[in-house]
C-alpha cells in the first residue's frame, strides 16, 4: 500500500521521467574542438547518448560516465571543424530521446589562462572599473568647496546612481536566473543575495562601530563596498561577453564606461566632504570599488557559470540596497528635509537621469 500510494509511489507515476540538462557553457579550446559543460538540474540521472552539432550526429568523448547524476555536472568533447565567426547549435540527445540544445551566437576560440588573456582581462577591468572610479574620487576637492546643501544634493545624486545600479543588477540577475539549472533555483539565489547581503553588511558594520571612524566614513566604506560588489557583477558580464565574442571593446564602450563609472567615484566621496581624508584612505576606497571589476572580468572570461553570475549580481543588488538605506538615514539626520526635500529630490532624479544617459554608451 505504502509503495503505491505513499509519497514515493505517488510521485513515481507511469509518465516518462522529466529530464533536465542545462548546457552551461560551450568552449572552443582549439580549432576543431568543442567542449560542452553541462549540469543535470532535473529529478533523475540523465544519460547522454548522442551529440548533434548543427543537425548532424557527431562522435564525442565524455569525462567520467555518460550518466550524469542529479545536480551533477559533466563535460564532453566533440571533435568538430567549427568555423570561426559563425553561429552554431549544439544539442545532446539522451537515452529517452529528449534533446537539450544551446545556441552559440559566434564560435570563437575561447580564452585560456595565458599571459595574453590575463593581460587583456586585467586591462579590461582597469579601464572599465578602476580608472573611472578613481577619476570620480578626484572630485573630492571640488565637493569640499561647495555649500552644505549642495553636498546633500550630491549625496542624493549618489542615491539616485545607486538605485539605478541596484535595479539594473537585480533585473540582470533575474534575467540570468533563467539560465541556471532549475534545481539550483535561480530566483532563490537572487532572493538570498538581495535579502542576505544587507543583513550581513549591517552585522559587519555593527562589529566595527566600536572602532574608529565616523558615520560618514562608514557610509563611504559601505558605498565603496556596494559599488565594488556591483562592479564584480559588471566585470563578470563584460568578461563573459568578451570571451564568447559578443562584444568588442570599441572606443565608444570604453568612453561610456569611463563616464558611467566616474559617477560611482563621486558617490563614494560625497559623504566625506566635511571629513579629513588621507590619500591612503581614498586609495583603499577606490580599490574596494574598482578592483572587483578586474576579478569579475577574469572569472567571467575564463570560467563563466550562470550560477556564480546570478549570485554575484544579487549580492551586488543587496549591497546597493544596504548603501541606499544608510545614505538615506544620513540625509534624514541633516537639514534639507531628507530625500523629499526639493533640492535632494532633484539630486536623486539627476542621479537616475545621469546613469541613464551615460548608460546609453554602454548598452551591449
Amino acid at each position: 500500500m505504502f509503495v503505491t500510494f505513499g509519497p514515493v509511489g505517488v510521485f513515481r507515476a507511469s509518465f516518462p521521467p522529466i529530464e533536465e540538462l542545462t548546457l552551461e557553457r560551450v568552449d572552443f579550446p582549439a580549432p576543431g574542438q568543442i567542449r560542452v559543460h553541462l549540469v543535470n538540474g532535473g529529478p533523475e540521472p540523465v544519460t547522454v547518448s548522442q551529440v548533434i552539432v548543427d543537425d548532424a550526429y557527431w562522435s564525442f568523448t565524455m569525462d567520467g560516465n555518460a550518466t550524469v547524476e542529479r545536480l551533477g555536472s559533466a563535460a564532453l568533447d566533440v571533435p568538430y571543424p567549427w568555423v570561426s565567426g559563425e553561429p552554431l547549435q549544439i544539442g545532446l540527445i539522451t537515452s529517452t530521446g529528449l534533446t537539450f540544445t544551446r545556441e552559440v551566437a559566434v564560435a570563437t576560440e575561447s580564452p585560456r589562462a595565458n599571459s595574453r588573456y590575463l593581460t587583456t582581462f586585467v586591462l579590461l577591468g582597469l579601464y572599465v572599473g578602476v580608472v573611472p572610479v578613481f577619476l570620480g574620487l578626484l572630485w573630492l576637492p571640488f565637493l569640499r568647496e561647495i555649500p552644505r546643501h549642495w553636498v546633500d544634493f550630491f549625496l542624493s545624486l549618489t542615491i539616485g546612481l545607486l538605485v539605478f545600479l541596484g535595479v539594473d543588477a537585480l533585473a540582470e540577475a533575474v534575467k540570468m536566473s533563467g539560465d541556471v539549472a532549475s534545481a539550483f533555483q535561480g530566483i532563490g539565489l537572487v532572493t538570498m543575495g538581495v535579502v542576505g547581503t544587507p543583513l550581513v553588511i549591517q552585522g559587519l558594520s555593527r562589529l566595527r562601530k566600536h572602532g574608529a571612524g565616523t558615520e560618514a566614513r562608514r557610509a563611504a566604506v559601505l558605498i565603496a563596498l556596494g559599488i565594488g560588489l556591483h562592479n564584480l557583477g559588471e566585470g563578470l558580464a563584460i568578461g563573459s561577453a568578451y570571451a564568447i565574442g559578443e562584444i568588442t571593446l570599441g572606443s565608444t564602450l570604453v568612453i561610456g564606461f569611463l563616464l558611467h563609472n566616474t559617477t560611482e567615484g563621486i558617490g563614494i566621496v560625497a559623504p566625506l566632504t566635511r571629513e579629513p581624508v588621507r590619500p591612503g584612505t581614498l586609495l583603499t576606497l577606490g580599490a574596494l570599488a574598482g578592483l572587483p571589476t578586474i576579478a569579475g572580468a577574469l572569472i567571467g572570461g575564463l570560467s563563466y557559470a550562470p550560477i556564480a553570475t546570478v549570485l554575484f549580481l544579487s549580492i551586488g543588488a543587496g549591497a546597493v540596497i544596504q548603501v541606499v538605506w544608510v545614505l538615506g538615514r544620513l540625509l534624514s539626520q541633516r537639514e534639507g528635509g531628507g530625500l523629499t526635500g526639493p533640492l535632494n529630490a532633484a539630486g536623486l532624479l539627476a542621479g537616475l537621469v545621469l546613469m541613464y544617459t551615460t548608460g546609453l554608451w554602454v548598452a551591449f
Binding site: G32, Q50, I52, A56, W58, S59, G64, P81, T96, G97
Partner: protein, 349 residues
C-alpha cells in the same frame, strides 16, 4: 587518405584497426568507469582531417557506440521476408496466412537513444510480407497494444478489408482476407487516427507482391525502409535511417561482390518531412516506381520518394571499394540516413 581499401590483402585494414581500438576503449570504460563513449566510427570515408599549425585532428561524423542487436538487427531485417504459412486452395491457388500482432515496445533508434514505439510483431518496420500475385492472403491481426489499431494494405481489395473503418481495439482481433493484387512493391500500415502518430510510432512494413507471369532475375535482395523518429515529440525527426537505426550500415557496411546483381525494395515511411531520397555512390541503377511496370524504368543514381512511395532498384557495382548510400537531403544523411556498401572483388573488364 585511402578509401575503399580491402581488408583481405593480409594484415589489418585501417578500419579493423579502428574497430580494435574501439573495443579497447569500451573495455576500459567497463573496467575503470573513467572513460566513456570513446568509440570512433569505423567508416574510413567519414574521417576528416584538418591540419592546422602542425596539429592534426580527426573529425568523426556520426553517432557514438553501437546498438543492442539482440532485440532487433537492421541487417537481419534487410534480408528477411515473411512468406507466411502456405496451403493450396481447391481452385489451385495458394493461400498464405500471416500472424501479425501489434505490441508496444521500446526500441533503440540510435546507440543509446530509445523510442517508445508501437510495432507490428515487435519490430519497426514490421515484417516484410512477401507473396505472389493472385495468392489468397489471410492476415490474422491481434491488437496487444495500448491503443486501437488497424492494418491498411495498399492494393486492390474490398472496402471492408481496407483496414480503415474496422478499428481493432486493444485485446481484439481481426482477419483481413483478400487477393494479392497488383504485383509490385506495396505497403501496409496502421490507419487509426491520429494517422501521423500511428505511422510515426512505427506501425508500417513492406508488402511485396511478386509477379506471377514473370521470373525475376536472381539477385541479392535487400529491403530498405526509409524512416525517421521524432524522439522528443517536437514535430521534427531527430533520427533518420533505413530500417530504423541511425548510421547502422555505416558501422556495419553491407557486404557485396563486384558484378553481383543487387535488388533493393525501397519504401519511404518518413513522417513530418514531405520527401526522402536515396543516392548510391559509384554506380547507376535502374529504378521502377512502385515496381508495377517492368518496361518502364529510370536509369539514375538518385531518386526522390514522397511519403508512402516505394520502388525497386536494380544495380551492380563494377569496382570494389567502400561506397556510400544515403539520402541526398544532407540533413537527413547527417542525422543518420547514411550507410555503406563494401564491395569486394576485382574490377570488371
Amino acid at each position: 587518405m585511402a578509401t575503399g581499401e580491402k581488408s583481405e590483402g593480409g594484415g589489418l585494414s585501417r578500419r579493423e584497426l579502428l574497430r580494435a581500438g574501439t573495443a579497447g576503449a569500451v573495455g576500459l570504460a567497463a573496467a575503470g568507469g573513467s572513460v566513456a563513449m570513446v568509440r570512433p566510427n569505423p567508416a574510413d570515408t567519414q574521417d576528416r582531417q584538418i591540419v592546422r599549425g602542425g596539429q592534426e585532428h580527426v573529425h568523426v561524423m556520426g553517432t557514438s557506440g553501437d546498438i543492442d542487436t539482440s532485440l532487433y538487427d537492421p541487417a537481419v531485417h534487410l534480408e528477411s521476408f515473411d512468406r507466411g504459412r502456405t496451403s493450396p486452395l481447391p481452385d489451385g491457388r495458394t493461400l498464405r496466412e500471416y500472424e501479425i500482432t501489434a505490441v508496444d515496445r521500446t526500441i533503440e533508434v540510435a546507440p543509446g537513444v530509445h523510442f517508445d514505439a508501437w510495432t507490428y510483431n515487435g519490430t519497426v518496420p514490421g515484417p516484410t510480407l512477401r507473396c505472389t500475385e493472385g495468392d489468397r492472403l489471410r492476415v490474422n491481426f491481434t491488437n496487444s497494444g495500448s491503443h486501437p489499431h488497424t492494418i491498411h494494405f495498399h492494393g486492390i481489395h474490398a472496402g471492408n478489408m481496407d483496414g480503415v473503418f474496422e478499428v481493432v481495439d486493444p485485446g481484439d482481433t481481426f482477419r483481413y482476407e483478400f487477393d494479392a493484387l497488383p504485383a509490385g512493391v506495396q505497403l501496409y500500415h496502421c490507419h487509426a487516427a491520429p494517422l501521423k502518430r500511428h505511422i510515426h510510432k512505427g506501425l508500417y512494413g513492406g508488402f511485396i507482391i511478386d509477379p506471377r507471369d514473370r521470373v525475376l532475375e536472381p539477385a541479392r535482395e535487400l529491403v530498405m525502409v526509409m524512416n525517421g523518429f521524432d524522439t522528443n515529440y517536437d514535430g521534427e525527426n531527430e533520427v533518420y535511417a533505413v530500417n530504423s537505426v541511425a548510421f547502422h550500415f555505416q558501422r556495419h557496411p553491407i557486404q557485396l561482390r563486384v558484378g553481383e546483381l543487387v535488388r533493393i525494395y525501397l519504401f519511404n515511411m518518413t513522417e513530418f518531412d514531405l520527401v526522402n531520397s536515396i543516392h548510391v555512390h559509384g554506380t547507376f541503377f535502374k529504378y521502377w516506381r512502385t515496381g508495377t511496370r517492368p518496361d518502364h524504368y529510370d536509369y539514375t543514381d538518385t531518386v526522390l520518394l514522397c511519403q508512402g512511395e516505394r520502388g525497386v532498384i536494380e544495380m551492380t557495382f563494377e569496382h570494389p571499394g567502400l561506397f556510400m548510400f544515403h539520402a541526398h537531403q544532407s540533413e537527413f544523411a547527417e542525422l543518420g540516413w547514411m550507410g555503406l556498401f563494401e564491395v569486394r572483388g576485382e574490377t570488371v573488364g
